[in-house]
């Protein structure tokens, strides 16, 4: 037994030594990780974000890569599940030796993963998780989880003010998905909207993936609010818009950022006319960097980019640039660079939006509002 243990330990040691030697020879290659929900209900957004991420990598490698080598990306499916996510992040760091991670989409999973990444001093950049709680958990001045777009607090604040001032709706019924994403947006919306003088007449939760809203909307109709705010994902959002039309709910409908999709207009049909959605990115964006991304993405994938592909593109682009500036594939050096990149352009937000992270790792820019007209979203100018 003792001999066996010794032999095993010796073998293990030699494997470790040789793996150190191998990694030294290739130390210059930049390895980055991705954690996204690629199966399960959240994969709807996950697959779109993945395209944006892969596009950013492809672009970087076409330009000669980083440190004279192609950037290598490892993609893990976290299934939108916290346990799987924690395992995925450990695997990316321990086994694949990544120095930065783009991920993830589900806020609850991002919260669990960010604790692990921080432990290893590997910076993470959100790939769609919106809840402000995850960046709030960062130590001020030393964040390891970054988000290159405004969190739920800023998004909801902007939507609340747009709903009241731009759309002139004095009373609102809120329908929100019972997830961190939906609930944080709905809570922030309510406090902001009431803070500036609006009135929330109803707050109604629904379960992720719900499709039938006739009964909820029947109640909404009875309260006749001047607007309905939906905080949730595209599939349920399309159903709410369509069914509101069928039930004769004659109000302005406002949706959260994840409903910024052409598929929603297709699924909701004519009922989507007049639908307002909070929007950080449009293919027709006035943001010059974003417009260029849209053009190249369209040429490469033969389809329109959406807010998800833009989020993925920015998230991965930031990691690659941070490594390039750090001069070596090292997580701690990259984190320092990320805190000092106010010149790096983002594809989201108004023109000349840059990655100016605050001391909690979040970026603030003005969130736009788009309104569907003749089956197309039209962006209202940023004011």
């Amino acid at each position: 037994m003792a001999i066996w243990v010794k032999a095993a330990a010796a073998a293990g040691l030699s494997v470790m030594i040789s793996s150190v030697a191998i990694s030294a020879a290739f130390a210059e290659q930049l390895k980055l990780g991705v954690s996204l929900p690629l199966s399960g209900p959240a994969s709807l957004a996950g697959t779109s974000i993945r395209e944006g991420i892969e596009f950013a990598v492809k672009q970087a490698n076409q330009k000669g890569g980083v440190f004279d080598q192609d950037v290598k990306v490892f993609i893990e499916d976290d299934e939108g599940n916290p346990t799987k996510g924690v395992t995925a992040v450990r695997k990316l760091i321990e086994q694949d030796h990544v120095v930065g991670i783009s991920g993830t989409y589900v806020s609850a999973v991002a919260a669990a993963e960010s604790k692990v990444a921080k432990e290893y001093k590997v910076p993470m950049i959100s790939a769609g998780s919106t809840s402000s709680a995850v960046t709030d958990a960062n130590t001020a001045g030393d964040p390891w989880f970054f988000r290159a777009f405004p969190g739920s607090r800023a998004q909801a604040k902007q939507t609340a003010s747009d709903t009241l001032k731009k759309l002139n709706a004095k009373t609102v019924a809120v329908l929100y998905e019972n997830s961190i994403y939906g609930k944080s947006l709905a809570d922030e919306f309510k406090s902001n909207y009431e803070g500036i003088g609006g009135k929330v007449v109803a707050m109604e939760a629904y379960n992720p993936g719900d499709k039938d809203f006739y009964s909820s909307l029947t109640n909404v109709r009875a309260q006749s609010p001047s607007a309905v705010y939906i905080a949730g994902l595209m599939d349920s959002g399309a159903q709410i818009i369509k069914q509101a039309g069928e039930l004769g709910v004659q109000t302005q409908i406002v949706g959260s950022g994840s409903m910024m999709s052409d598929k929603l207009i297709e699924l909701a049909g004519p009922a989507s006319e007049g639908f307002a959605v909070s929007s950080m990115f449009e293919p027709s964006t006035p943001n010059k960097h974003g417009a260029e991304f849209a053009k190249e993405f369209r040429a490469a994938y033969k389809k329109e980019p959406d807010v998800y592909s833009a989020i993925g593109f920015d998230s991965m682009g930031l990691l690659i640039e941070a490594a390039r500036r750090a001069g070596k594939p090292d997580g701690a050096a990259m984190q320092k660079q990320l805190l000092n990149m106010p010149d790096f352009p983002l594809s989201q937000g108004p023109d000349r939006t840059t990655a100016k992270f605050d001391d909690k790792g979040s970026v603030e820019f003005k969130v736009g509002l788009a309104i569907v007209k003749n089956g197309k979203r039209e962006w209202l100018p940023f004011d």
Binding site: V5, K91, Q95, Y120
Partner: protein, 302 residues
């Protein structure tokens, strides 16, 4: 005694393989393996030894995890108190579910466990004030075991203790009684056995172990969120027991190790691992209905 020796050898092998050959990722998987070994073995107490199909094991896992998280949040209790309390609360729920459950017949029993599982999940995700809803609750790491590898040794020791306890249990008079019920309940009743009480005790013990595993999981992820405690998780625990082999001590252990580690090895095939997983379940039930442990012992007997 041979079994206990084998448990210790297996645990030592796991410890050496994951700490010497692998890094944090391997240790992370080893922790999850230990937790699922406890779960599968404890489910086998009711499934393999008494023939009750339970699709509610992840609910007890969740009850244990949330008990620890809520006690820690509201009363600041530590791991050493939360672990036994998590087991007791889960065991109590198992006992309470058992009262109506054991009156039901055949397939109704399985449906009832599914209903219970779904209710627990919906309560965890919707009773926001108490359970934190989808936000869940944060859990501080166990004092003195804050690093991954030290926590792994803690989990490993607890898993070994659980396995030895389960081994003793199934070899004891209670185990004999359970087996008698599985083989012929009417006969067991005729010879004067209080079959219902025996089954109730088995269910409570099995749930308590699952609750303990839940406490370990909560401290491992350092938090609880409802999505770890779905009917899908329950079904995969059942799958572990079936794949490994029901009513054999090593069956559930083998099934838990395989089904936890397999998807990780498959993640090179990230895109196809679920298809593969589903296919494996069908093929195993077709070609090795007694599980891999059953196949193995038959092969050895030959």
């Amino acid at each position: 005694m041979r079994a206990i020796f084998l448990i210790l050898v297996a645990a030592a092998t796991l410890a050496i393989v994951s700490t010497v050959f692998g890094g944090g990722y391997a240790i992370n998987i080893a922790i999850v393996v230990c937790i699922y070994v406890i779960l599968a073995s404890s489910l086998d107490i009711v499934m393999g030894w008494t023939g009750l199909f339970s699709f509610a094991h992840a609910a007890f896992l969740g009850i244990g995890a949330y008990t620890a998280a809520i006690l820690g949040r509201d009363f600041g209790t530590t791991f050493w108190l939360n672990l036994p309390l998590g087991m007791i609360v889960a065991g109590l729920f198992g006992f309470l579910l058992g009262l109506p459950l054991l009156r039901a017949q055949g397939h109704f029993l399985a449906i009832m466990t599914i209903a219970f599982q779904t209710i627990v999940y919906l309560v965890l995700s919707q009773w926001t004030d108490f359970t934190g809803g989808q936000y869940g609750i944060e859990v501080e790491p166990v004092a003195g075991f804050t690093t991954l590898s030290s926590y792994f040794y803690l989990v490993l020791v607890i898993a070994v203790i659980c396995l030895i306890a389960i081994r003793f249990l199934t070899q004891s008079r209670l185990g004999d009684a359970l087996q008698a019920i599985r083989d012929d309940e009417t006969l067991a009743r005729t010879i004067g056995m209080n079959t219902k009480a025996v089954k109730l005790v088995a269910l409570a013990i099995s749930s308590a172990f699952a609750g303990g595993a839940g406490v370990l999981l909560a401290y491992h992820i350092r938090g609880v969120t409802p999505d770890d405690y779905t009917v899908l998780a329950s079904a995969s625990i059942v799958a572990m027991v079936v794949l490994g082999g029901r009513g054999r001590f090593w069956g559930p252990v083998l099934g838990a190790v395989l089904l936890t580690a397999l998807p990780e090895m498959l993640s090179i095939l990230t895109d196809y691992k679920h298809i593969f997983y589903g296919g494996v379940l069908i093929l195993v039930t077709m070609f090795a209905p007694q599980g891999l442990a059953g196949k193995f012992s038959r092969w050895r007997a030959r």
